[in-house]
């Protein structure tokens, strides 16, 4: 089934490959430099993660003599990155499941039913995006301590759910609004309950919107640092960004840099993968939010 996201634009039918023009040469030089500033550091992290520490100190920019895949074994076991990686996967997937189910239900009701306070609630949720997250670190820490949720994943999952709701609801509401009413009406005439209409008719239609919301939340939570920093107590619960940050801040020149680069590669790789696959959808999601909003 072909569905469009809220703001897909008609794409020109024929995309011709442009040829390099002489008048664009300065532009290409400039852009190539900026592109290099993105691509080279990334490549550098990956190949540095395959060097020995001695090689790294001798020349930080040279390629490895032989590729030390064992760095990953070390990072995985001694550096605890195995644990961080698994923690990150568990936290991210659990959060995504929670965020998507709660936001979908809420956005569906706000988008498809008319009732008193509807617009107010939408504005209330959206307002959550307008304040810097750092303001919430202390009171959230206190609240979770008070409720006995501080220190492990329970608190982190609740926090991720709560702080992802504004953005996710904001993205999904306009999306649900664009879905056609005919199938919904037909289902109602056939005697479907509200839940059947939602589960069997609207939810399947909403899949592209959920995918967009899911990608944004995946990136946001996989990379999240601030809340994890103040909520997770012990290193056993750390997610990858916390593990990398700790290693990076902790060690001055004395110890194991290559392990840190292996950890850094582990953080970046899934992001790169998701980005490569869903890049276009990501751009469309941003566009939809901005142009509608």
């Amino acid at each position: 089934m072909e569905m469009t996201t809220p703001a897909t634009r008609p794409v020109p039918a024929v995309q011709r490959r442009a040829r390099i023009r002489w008048e664009h040469l300065p532009l290409h030089l400039l852009f190539a430099l900026v592109a290099a500033s993105v691509v080279f550091p990334l490549a550098w992290v990956v190949y540095t993660s395959l060097k020995t520490n001695q090689e790294f100190f001798l020349n930080a920019w040279a390629l490895p003599q032989t590729w030390q895949w064992s760095n990953y074994v070390t990072a995985w076991t001694d550096g605890k990155f195995g644990r961080y990686f698994i923690n990150s996967i568990m936290v991210t997937s659990a959060s995504l499941a929670l965020i998507l189910s709660f936001s979908t239900m809420t956005a569906y009701v706000l988008a498809r039913f008319r009732f008193r306070g509807n617009q107010f609630l939408f504005n209330l949720f959206s307002a959550g995006m307008m304040f810097p997250l750092v303001m919430a670190m202390i009171p959230l820490f206190m609240l979770l301590k008070f409720m006995g949720l501080w220190g492990d994943w329970k608190g982190l999952l609740v926090a991720y759910l709560a702080y992802s709701l504004p953005f996710t609801v904001f993205v999904l509401v306009p999306f649900f609004k664009t879905l056609p009413a005919e199938m919904e009406e037909a289902a109602i005439i056939d005697g479907a309950t509200h839940f059947q209409v939602f589960g069997r008719v609207m939810l399947p239609l909403a899949r592209p919107g959920l995918l967009t919301a899911g990608i944004f939340n995946f990136l946001g939570i996989w990379n999240e640092y601030n809340l994890a920093l103040v909520i997770l107590g012990k290193a056993d619960y750390f997610t990858l960004p916390l593990g990398v940050a700790r290693l990076a801040v902790q060690q001055d020149y004395k110890s194991d840099w290559t392990t840190m680069f292996a950890g850094l590669t582990l953080v970046m790789l899934p992001t790169l993968l998701v980005y490569a696959v869903f890049q276009r959808r990501l751009a469309e999601g941003i566009t939809a939010g901005a142009i509608k909003g």
Binding site: R9, R17, A18, R19, I20, R21, H24, L27, F31, V34, A35, V38, P41, L42, N59, A60, W61, M105, T106, V109, R112, F113, R114, F115, L121, L124, G128, F131, P132, L133, V134, M135, A136, M137, I138, P139, L140, F141, M142, L143, A162, L165, H194, F198, L219, N223, Y225, V230, L240, V244, A245, A248, V267, M268, T271, Q279, A283, I286, A290, I291
Partner: protein
């Protein structure tokens, strides 16, 4: 559509999210204000009421004002750079005659999707005084005299982190502006070009007025992200050297979670709240101008 029994779905679908949102997002902002009137070490739930004491300290604390100034530099200087770059690069990449524009777009946007921690660590190495690529690049181009420990000197640390922030996020604004420019009917631009308008004139007189709405949205985004600066600074410089890169975020973290002074940390957060509110409200008034339709 309206059905009489619609509450049967509205209530169970809405109330749980609303409850979680209110308890964990809205209530903390109020709790934060309460904590700012107390002394609290964060270890037990015992707090001592101090009234306005923390606020009198705040007003005289020079680091707070440095931090606020730095936040405003991130929001307005960094923000202006991001918008400008996003707009110019976005405009250049909207031109279908430019070879490789999809490649550039993909690459420039990527850092925005990356972990802030990864970005911070990456740029610590780029700025490294001994073997960082940045100094290496300067030496290579004959500007070796300018090489310095960028993150280690009070005069250069803040601009260096601002550059990283801009590098990381201008791609996001580029994507926004590309979308905006592509929404402009091609006939408008063609007509102007036929009438002899140069690329610069088309940008200034046709594209710019029509992407005004997006620019407003983008402005709000850059300001919020400037006020929210934390992880990047925390990892790259921890607010140093000598508070030169301190932001309200890193300072309140330092006070609360390192020095166990959660009351004072919350006072810093309260200042951030007031600043955010003031800026948002004045932006709203300032930006309320007619929308240009096409």
């Amino acid at each position: 559509m309206y059905r009489r029994d619609q509450w049967k779905i509205i209530v169970p679908f809405l109330i749980p999210s609303l409850l979680i949102y209110v308890v964990f997002v809205l209530v903390p902002y109020f709790v934060g204000f309460m904590i700012s009137f107390t002394r609290w070490t964060g270890t037990s739930l015992r707090m001592r009421w101090l009234g306005l004491y923390n606020y009198t300290v705040l007003v005289q604390d020079p680091h707070v004002w440095t931090a606020l100034k730095n936040n405003l530099v991130f929001a307005f200087v960094g923000g202006a750079l991001m918008l400008l770059l996003g707009m110019l690069v976005g405009n250049a990449l909207s031109d279908s005659r430019l070879a490789g524009r999809h490649f550039y777009r993909t690459v420039f946007f990527f850092p925005h999707a990356m972990s802030v921690i990864a970005i911070a660590v990456l740029w610590m190495f780029i700025y490294n005084p001994q073997w960082g690529i940045f100094n290496g690049f300067l030496r290579l181009t004959g500007l070796g005299a300018l090489a310095k420990p960028w993150l280690g000197e009070t005069a250069y640390a803040l601009p260096a982190v601002v550059v990283t922030h801009v590098w990381a996020h201008f791609g996001f604004y580029m994507v926004l502006f590309i979308a905006g420019i592509q929404q402009i009917p091609a006939s408008l631009i063609e007509a102007a070009t036929i009438d002899g308008a140069s690329g610069r004139q088309v940008f200034r007189h046709i594209k710019l007025p029509l992407i005004l709405e997006i620019t407003k949205t983008a402005l709000v985004f850059v300001i919020i992200s400037g006020l929210n600066m934390f992880a990047l600074v925390q990892v790259m410089t921890a607010g140093g050297p000598a508070h030169a890169t301190e932001t309200l975020g890193t300072y309140l973290y330092q006070k609360a979670f390192r020095e166990n002074n959660f009351g004072y940390g919350s006072t810093v957060a309260a200042l951030l709240f007031v600043v955010t509110l003031t800026i948002s409200l004045s932006l709203q008034r300032f930006l309320k101008r007619e929308v240009i339709e096409y």
